[in-house]
């Protein structure tokens, strides 16, 4: 090893940081030297948190949300409406829907959306598992809460075609203007849907 390069543990830490999304070699170096200067307790807490995330977090075998216990708290709760499933793309979306406080049903995390051009098909998502849940019975409505993007819409329509024959009601979130938006910059699609979905004041 040339004398000018950093000690091996530092080099290794820099390399590990570089693997994180959005972290280039310079940022990785800065982070590594920050860890070096930080109190040992902080560094060990970080290491423990990293280990726990990988060891203790699993996917719920029913809804595929992230959880410490399988089945997860949503799927085992008797406080929730078990005839209602809200299908979302990512585990983070569950938190966001929960935060509204207005939903009391169950969830299903698809882990992505159909992207035909990039080659992401139904078999890469948790679509088959959602069909199984509906086939098992007791579900009255599936709420499609996928992103209002081309891929999200395609996913919703695909699931609708898959689930409708099973006699379940398939709905999707309304589309309209986000709060704080400028009508001037609104795209035609959103605006025309907002106009169709207008409500009495």
């Amino acid at each position: 090893m040339p004398a000018t390069s950093a000690p091996e543990p530092i080099v290794r830490l820099v390399q590990e940081f570089t693997k994180l999304p959005g972290i280039g070699p310079k940022s990785a170096q800065r982070l590594a030297y920050h860890v070096l200067r930080a109190p040992e307790d902080d560094a060990l807490a970080l290491a423990r948190a990293l280990g726990d995330v990988k060891r203790r977090i699993v996917f719920c075998g029913t809804c595929f949300n992230i959880t410490e216990r399988d089945p997860c708290a949503f799927c085992t709760s008797d406080q929730r409406d078990r005839t209602l499933i809200c299908a979302v793309e990512q585990p983070l979306d569950v938190l966001v829907v929960e935060r509204t406080g207005g939903y009391r049903g169950l969830y299903h995390v698809l882990h992505g959306s159909l992207n035909p051009i990039e080659g992401v098909g139904p078999e890469q998502l948790r679509i088959g598992e959602l069909v199984q849940r509906v086939e098992a019975g007791g579900i009255a409505e599936i709420i499609m809460a996928t992103n209002p993007s081309l891929e999200g819409e395609a996913t919703s329509m695909y699931l609708q075609r898959l689930l409708q024959p099973l006699g379940v009601r398939v709905t999707r979130l309304a589309r309209g203007l986000p709060s704080g938006a400028d009508i001037e910059y609104m795209d035609d699609l959103t605006l025309s849907r907002a106009l169709e979905g207008r409500q009495d004041l």
Binding site: P116, E118, E153, A154, M157, L189
Partner: protein
Amino acid sequence: MAARPRVYRAEGIVLRRRNLGEADSILTVFSEGEGKFEAIARSVRKARSRMRGHLEPLTRSRLLVARGRNLDVFTQAETVSAYRGVREDLDASAEALYCLELVDRFLEERQPLPAIYALLVAALEAIEEGGGASVTRHFELRLLSLLGYEPQIDGCAVCGGRLPEEPALLSPVTGGLVCSSCRPDAGGGRTVSVAVIKLLRFARRVDAPAFAALRMPPDRARELQAALAELVRYHLERELNASRFVEGVGALERRA
């Protein structure tokens, strides 16, 4: 050398989007004046982005683009058409995405190809009008022609002789239909029926809506689809990702 203007206008169709960092996206656009190009849309994944709805894949937009050191940057975007009728129909979406992927895979960057742009716009409009898979077949054949891969379908591609009214071999290697006596020299291919040969000739003559208006029995549509898919595969040297989606969506429809 005169300095190039720092911004330029382009009207184009967003072919695909991939995410970059926290809130940016890199979009591939096929535009009338610039050809296919990539540029960055900054902060477009934030809820308050003013360009967000105008830069979705499968949107035709008027764009203002600033030249960057590596990648150019979108500074303004305004929808010309969001092809709502396509977006809200699963089968139409699948057909349209297949056409977008064809364009993306076949075209080199920064080559203005206005005829192909017009063809794509016409195809998306025809799909929007409910033209279905026939529009895609018409688009495939015309795209191959405009790219210089027009299959020889009037006479034998090997000897140039007249083709009798019987099934013939469509051979990608020789670039077209091959008569029965030249068959051994053709290097493989797929035998196509007289009906499909006539469909190919008809598609060459008329525009997408006229071709889509033609009633086709399902097995003939499948034969035409397989024949054109083979030409596409030969020239592209790969399968299209979207073709699996088109198939999957069609299979669900038949099951339902």
